[in-house]
Amino acid sequence: MSNDVKVSVRNLTKCFGDLKVLDNISFDIKKGEFICVVGPTGCGKTTFLNLLTRLIPQTSGEILIDGEPADPKKHNISFVFQEPSAFSWLTTQENIEYGLRIKKMPEEYIKQQSDKVISLLGLDRFRNAYPHEMSVSMEQRVVIGRAFAMNPDLLLMDEPYGQMDIKMRFFLEDEVIKLWKATGATVLFITHNLEEAVYLAERVLVLSAKPATIKAQVPINIERPRKVSDPAFIEVRKQITDMIKWW
């Protein structure tokens, strides 16, 4: 059983000065699992994700990946930020190949990965475009492509589709599911959008208002492709909404 655990979070607490943002969070993510994390606005979701990447240090507790303390030098962690973060001086293709070049992958592999990702995202026409020539949503897709091109064993996504129209969102959500199934990646996906969480996740972690604790873990046992008007879908969505509604 414990062999299945990819990420193990133990008693994680984070304070900024006097402000406690995360309070004693513990949970496991199984290898190949797709988890969504939801919570009320401002509850500390992004801080939580930043801790997982080790971009910022935790106050106490530990994060283990494959049983070892998480370390971006050792573990292949991809991150898609909330704000599009494509390099403004690189084209779509150069952005997507960026991480692979840093890792000094063979040229042939780089080409193969970037071609695959570009065609999956339907970005062929924009292969040589720079971020300033793109809409915000298009730039974000380049960033998502960059994360996938790395073939990560842990993919962290911080509300990547917040800005997109719903048709595009479902399209890309389906794409993420397809990639997740094909690669067996372990995905932790943070969102404010409860419908999105229920659409994507195998399990939804519901955080409380700040300081965030785990309020509930809701398994989503609805067959894919899921349908938002399916009564079972509406039921789970309502259940999670009632747990965090503040507006």
């Binding site: 339907g122 719903i166 595009m168 399209f171 507006w247």
Partner: protein, 251 residues
């Protein structure tokens, strides 16, 4: 529908817009005709990149159409307020100074414009923040300032260009409820552009669905749903799925 009885505030006829680059022509809007009625909440819905904002800019007079006409049959001096996609509040001005700006430019005296601005600041729920600067406000609060500022010049038509696009999904629900409350308190003709079907359906008296670029009117929906609308009501979801199926995917 009793549309013939209603006063037309804005009439778009055969609007087209093309942009000319060095070696190519880019058509953003193609042959759009819409009548907008007094005090209606009209949502213009379209996929990303479809030319929605261009259309709104044409209505506002910020862009000239390549073809077609924009008319204001109700009055030749119809005024408009604009709420921008990105919170375009001035960072060096307080909430009060931002909201009263339009009236100040018009030359309204200080007492009168402060009174009006104060009323609107309270209407949008920012009482107590009159002297705060934008950096002290959250994204949702900044957009409230933008809405109050647009209302303050007492425009006949309020144009809103994806005002909640940058807000998180939960704050967005809150702001959608807010904007309806404000509209119900201060009835105005509102043209609200969004790429979010759920938002369009929650807000609009009518929903104009645009095609992918170049934007054409694909369909106009009139939701028979009572307000306040419930976004997980089966009828709401059914109409949402119908519109979704009819929406172009803009890759």
């Amino acid at each position: 529908m009793d549309n013939k009885e209603r006063k037309v505030m804005l009439r778009l006829e055969n609007i087209a817009k093309s942009f000319y680059a060095r070696h190519e022509v880019f058509d953003a809007v193609s042959d759009v005709s819409i009548d907008v009625y007094e005090n209606e909440f009209l949502t213009i819905l379209g996929p990303g990149q479809c030319g929605k904002s261009v259309l709104l800019n044409i209505i506002a007079g910020l862009e000239k159409p390549t073809k077609g006409t924009v008319d204001f049959p109700a009055s030749s001096d119809t005024t408009m307020g604009f709420v921008f996609q990105k919170t375009a509040v001035f960072p060096w001005k307080t909430v009060m100074e931002n909201v009263e700006l339009g009236l100040q430019i018009k030359g309204t005296n200080k007492k009168e414009r402060r009174e009006k601005a104060q009323y609107l600041i309270e209407l949008v729920g920012l009482k107590g923040f009159e002297n705060a600067y934008p950096y002290q406000l959250s994204g949702g609060m900044k957009q409230r300032v933008g809405i109050a500022r647009a209302y303050c010049v007492n425009p006949d038509i309020l144009l809103m260009d994806e005002p909640f696009g940058a807000l998180d999904a939960q704050t967005r629900y809150q702001m959608e409820e807010e904007v309806l409350r404000i509209w119900q308190a201060e009835k105005r003709t509102v043209i609200f552009v969004t790429n979010n079907i759920e938002e369009a359906l929650f807000l609009g008296d009518r929903i104009v669905l645009l095609s992918a670029c170049p934007a054409k009117v694909k369909e106009i929906y009139i939701p028979r749903l009572e307000r306040p609308r419930n976004n997980i009501d089966p009828d709401f979801l059914a109409l949402r799925e119908e519109i979704e199926a009819n929406t172009d995917l803009a890759l």
